[in-house]
Amino acid sequence: MKRIRDFFTSWEFFLVVLLAVVCAVFYYVDAGRVAAGISRRPVFYFANVVRSMRPYFLYSFMTLGMMLILAMGDIDISVGAIGTLSVVTLGVTYNNLAVIGGMSGPVALTLSLMACLFVGCVCGAVNGFLCTRFKELFSMIITLATQLFFRGFSYLIIGGETLTFKDPTFRSLSALNKLIDVGGVKVPVSLPVFLVFAIIFFVWLHMTGNGRKIFAIGTNRSATYYSGVQTDKIKFWCFVIAGLMSAVTGIFFVGNSSSSVKADIMDGYHMYAIAAAVLGGFSTDGGKGSVIGAAISLVIFGVVKFGLGTLFGFADSAVNLSVGVILILSVLVPNLIEDWRNARRVARRRAETVAHNS
């Protein structure tokens, strides 16, 4: 009984309802447009929505990394810059090995991809080292600084240039941009890859002792430390993983737009990652959140952007506005509910006391 109630009052359930409501609204608007003759055929149907989600699943890998950081009560706003530096590394390494060095394409690409992932980890390690070594500094300030540093480093490497890739082997990365057929529905390659990662993260965060400790750090770092948990070690590795996920995002980014890479790409990606994680139930205070919630949130954002963009013809900036509204509501509503519950509890006790005293 309690389990059933817990399920229906859970945040994930609320997100599913929100998603259903959003879909229903868009579906009827779409049908209305067809009926009124504004558009010739419906655009808001499953296969089309899934296909169009491609760009939004770029953020998804970063969101997974961001979840770890938020669960510990920290924040990492350098993830976009890490992605950029990883991608720049990927491109520059490949150009030097294959185009200038004459190494065979596939070998060079493999090495470049490894370098890309490695740089992501190194950047994460820099964040992790600074955040565990200088505990009196907020991770927001540290990663703000490292964000500027990583992006600046990208400029240092390629300047204001645009890296272009005409090499056919390198362009094979655009396979990551393809749609593949899963049970009759064409989905972007990033979707099944994301699902695999999401399952790994779900098991890690919610089913292993190590994951429990990550939430413990975000709930009360000091008490967790006194419980004999190696808080610094865990925090360091979480930042490394967040860096790695940024590099993964970077690889998919190249797949999406393999023709050009500049030092200012992926700017602001950290905001989308934070937004999806926060809507998914993670809090900057740390200690809570669920992988499933974050995954549903990614879908919600994707659907909202698609719907507003194609059905209502909103520009991207206006779509961002709606994402902002959803985010603020998602933070406010649970707080209001909690306040209301507390007030009710106090009122109940007060009533008991009055009854007892009289």
């Binding site: 002792g209 009360n220 006194y226 419980s227 004999g228 948990v229 007060r350």
Partner: protein, 501 residues
């Protein structure tokens, strides 16, 4: 108009899950010092917060100068002449003395602060409290005693008619405390009503005319101090005979578990030698700030000592961490239970399993809910933790039961020795006795226990051996605790230079 400047009748305060004040009364005359006594957790602090407007009572009335008032805000209480000074005074350590005194009611010329006038007025107020420091000094650079003078000057600057002193002498030396008393008496003679909270009976008897006792959030009574004995007051505060409080069993001591040889950490402690044997309860006492917690944190690996040896169970320990020390069989109960001991938003179950996750509660890398539940249910029964079940959040428990959960966390790891830092701080009387009983049981099962405590009665009655620290050094060791008195220990705990002068 009645003879009282302040009356509180039938005050009730409820927090989610706990009744902090239950229908309590209090009154204060002008030119009177009225002591408020009770065990930790009796509701004194909450009561003070009701008077100063920090908490709104859920029932009862406050009558100030014959007029019923609602203290909806600390600022209103201040404007009506109520001021409070606390054990740890400094409000803004980075600001100057004058800025602290006039914080919130600065002298201004237009929108700008009138520094000249503010410093001049601050100087006058400082003279009134016998302070010998400049109004432009930074408050953070002052001693605790000097900071308290700043707080009193601040109270005077607001023409406080009612002054609340909450454990003002707890962090002071004897001489500093006496200076503070002199000022309190002078203010009283000038017509200020003073509410004094102190755990020291000598303070109460030396200063106050009347005493009101709270116990477990209830009003017990008000007496003229010269008419009641100290033992009578203790009985009122504790609610039963005090001898039952300490169920210390005689135990045989076994092998040596911990030996500290000339352990030093610059600026905190030096040349500390301590031993703890199996089956022994060793008390480590001294004034606040004597370095007791720092020594034990060095043993547990929170900080590294600069020199000296730590030998734990026959093995010399170097460059260690809490994780390693727990694995070697040492448990540590931190002083600040809410900050360092528990994850208050987590259940009893998850708190107990956290330190032993990998060892006791996992199948491979996966959490086993069954094993976790077995462990915490067992601990709940063993330590008689009062809660409906182990899914109860620790934040909803009473202080005593929270402390039991912290003890359970240590015991889950099967330690050979545990360090308890102020184990009964903020714990109500009933739970105190329960915690002493647990300590006694553990010692008789062969655990070594080191208890850091400022409460001398518990140190004297629970310890087999007592070390006293003062200014970072061990100043005395007592092996015969039967004939010991609080005075002997206090004498050893007093800083020598100041005591001599």
């Amino acid at each position: 108009m009645s003879e009282y400047i302040l009356e509180l009748n039938g005050i009730t305060k409820i927090f989610p899950g706990v009744k902090a004040l239950d229908n309590v009364h209090f009154n204060l005359k002008a030119g009177e010092i009225h002591a408020l006594a009770g065990e930790n957790g009796a509701g004194k602090s909450t009561f003070i917060k009701v008077i100063t407007g920090a908490h709104q009572p859920d029932g009862g009335e406050i009558i100030l100068n014959g007029e019923k008032v609602v203290m909806s805000d600390p600022i209103i209480a201040q404007e009506r002449g109520i001021a409070a000074i606390y054990q740890h005074a400094a409000s803004y350590p980075d600001l100057s003395v004058a800025e602290n005194i006039f914080a919130g009611h600065e002298y201004k010329i237009g929108p700008f602060i009138d520094w000249g006038k503010m410093n001049r007025e601050a100087k006058k107020l400082l003279e009134a409290v016998d302070a010998d420091f400049s109004p432009t000094a930074s408050v953070g650079s002052l001693s605790v005693a000097q900071q308290q003078l700043v707080e009193i000057a601040k109270a005077l600057s607001m023409n406080a008619k009612i002054l609340i002193m909450d454990e003002p002498t707890a962090a002071l030396s004897q001489r500093e405390a006496e200076a503070l008393y002199k000022i309190a008496l002078r203010l009283r003679d000038q017509g200020t009503g003073i509410i004094l909270i102190s755990h020291r009976f000598e303070d109460m008897y030396g200063l106050a005319e009347r005493v009101t006792v709270f116990r477990d959030a209830q009003y017990i009574g008000t007496w003229n101090l010269h008419e009641v004995e100290q033992s009578f007051l203790i009985h009122q505060m504790v609610g039963r005979d005090i001898s039952q409080l300490y169920p210390k069993k005689e135990t045989e001591t076994g092998e040596e578990l911990l030996r500290l040889e000339n352990l030093s950490r610059t600026g905190f402690f030096r040349d500390v030698n301590i031993t703890v044997k199996a089956g022994e309860i060793v008390g480590l006492t001294g004034l606040v700030g004597a370095g007791r917690t720092e020594v034990m944190e060095a043993v547990f690996g929170v900080h590294q000592p600069d020199s000296g040896k730590i030998i734990f169970r026959g093995e010399e320990i170097h460059a260690h961490t809490p994780t390693q020390m727990m694995a070697k069989g040492l448990g540590y109960l931190p002083e600040d239970r809410q900050k360092d001991g528990l994850l208050l938003q987590w259940s009893i179950n998850h708190n107990i399993s956290l330190p032993v996750m990998a060892q006791e509660c996992q199948n491979g890398i996966f959490i086993s809910a069954t094993k976790e539940r077995q462990l915490s249910d067992g601990m709940k029964d063993l330590l008689a933790i009062k809660a409906p079940d182990t899914d109860t959040l620790t934040g909803a428990l009473s202080g005593g039961n929270q402390q039991k959960v912290v003890v359970a966390k240590q015991l889950a790891a099967n330690p050979k020795m545990i360090i308890l830092d102020e184990p009964t701080k903020g714990v109500d009387v009933g739970s105190k006795a329960a915690i002493y009983e647990i300590m006694s049981d553990l010692a008789s099962q062969g655990l070594g226990i080191l208890m850091i405590s400022s409460e001398l009665p518990e140190v004297i009655n629970m310890s087999d051996r007592i070390y006293v620290m003062s200014e970072g050094k061990i100043t005395a060791e007592f092996t015969d605790t039967k004939s010991l008195t609080q005075e002997i220990i206090l004498n050893a705990a007093m800083p020598k230079a100041k005591a001599a002068s």
